[in-house]
C-alpha cells in the first residue's frame, strides 16, 4: 500500500507545484482574482476526482491547464447567457478595479486582454506567458497547431491595436471593434 501512497503524494505535490501558474492563467483569462481562485479550486477538485484519467509520466501542469480551460469555457458560456438577461453588468464587474490593488500597474493590459475573443486570449496567454509550446497549447485548447499560431498572431496585433490606440485618448473608440481597418474593408 505504501507504493500507492507514494504515488498519491507525488501527484499531490505536482498539483501543488502547478497552482501558482494555474492562478496566473485563470486571472489572465477572467480578469478577476476571486473568480480565478474559484476556478483553480474547481480545477483541483475535478482533477482529484478524475485522477485515473491522468497518464502518469505526462505533463501534470498541461493536464490541469486543460481542465481549467474547459471549465472556464463552460462557465463563460453560462455567464454570458446570464448577462444577456441581466443587462451587461458582468462586463463592468469583470474590469472593476477596486479588488486589483496589487496589480494596478497592469490594469490597462488586463482590460485590453478582456477585449480579445476567448480563443485569442487563451492562445496568447498559453504561448506568450505560460511558456507552453504551440503544440502543447493546441492540445490544451483541443485544436490544430496552425489554429493556435494564427490566434496568437491575431491576438498580438489586436492587443497592440487596442493599447496603441488607447494611448491617444481622442482616437479611442467607444466600442472595442475596429471594423474594416485591418481586414481591408471586407465584411464577412
Amino acid at each position: 500500500m505504501s507504493d500507492r501512497n507514494d504515488a498519491r503524494e507525488d501527484v499531490r505535490s505536482a498539483m501543488l507545484a502547478a497552482v501558482p501558474s494555474l492562478r496566473a492563467f485563470a486571472i489572465s483569462l477572467c480578469g478577476d482574482v476571486d473568480r480565478a481562485n474559484d476556478l483553480v479550486q474547481e480545477t483541483l477538485l475535478r482533477a482529484w476526482s478524475h485522477l485515473d484519467s491522468f497518464e502518469p509520466g505526462t505533463n501534470m501542469s498541461a493536464w490541469l491547464f486543460t481542465i481549467l480551460r474547459n471549465h472556464f469555457r463552460t462557465e463563460y458560456r453560462k455567464r454570458r447567457r446570464e448577462v444577456e438577461d441581466a443587462d451587461g453588468g458582468y462586463a463592468e464587474r469583470l474590469t472593476a478595479p477596486e479588488e486589483q490593488t496589487s496589480h494596478i500597474e497592469f490594469g490597462e493590459l488586463r482590460e485590453a486582454l478582456l477585449k480579445l475573443s476567448a480563443d485569442q486570449r487563451e492562445a496568447l496567454i498559453l504561448v506568450g506567458a505560460s511558456g507552453f509550446s504551440y503544440e502543447e497549447a493546441a492540445k490544451i485548447c483541443d485544436c490544430a497547431i496552425g489554429t493556435i499560431k494564427s490566434r496568437v498572431n491575431r491576438a498580438r496585433l489586436r492587443l497592440a491595436e487596442i493599447l496603441g490606440i488607447e494611448t491617444v485618448p481622442d482616437l479611442a473608440p467607444e466600442t472595442p471593434e475596429f471594423p474594416a481597418a485591418a481586414s481591408g474593408g471586407r465584411k464577412d
Partner: protein, 54 residues
C-alpha cells in the same frame, strides 16, 4: 493588394508595441506566479488526500 500593404505596415508599426506587450504580459503573469500557493489550496489538497485514506 492595397489591403495587404496596409496590413504589413500596421504590423511593422506595432512591432515595438508588441515587444512591450509581450514583456508586460509575462511580467503580469510572473507577478501572480510569485504569489506562490495560497493556503486554501494546500489545505484543500490535504483534505482530499485524508478523505481518500479513510
Amino acid at each position: 493588394m492595397k489591403a495587404d500593404k496596409t496590413k504589413q505596415k500596421k504590423g511593422r508599426l506595432g512591432a515595438e508595441i508588441q515587444h512591450k506587450i509581450g514583456q508586460q504580459l509575462r511580467a503580469m503573469y510572473t507577478d501572480v506566479v510569485n504569489e506562490g500557493v495560497p493556503d486554501r489550496f494546500a489545505e484543500l489538497l490535504q483534505r482530499l488526500d485524508k478523505q481518500d485514506q479513510k
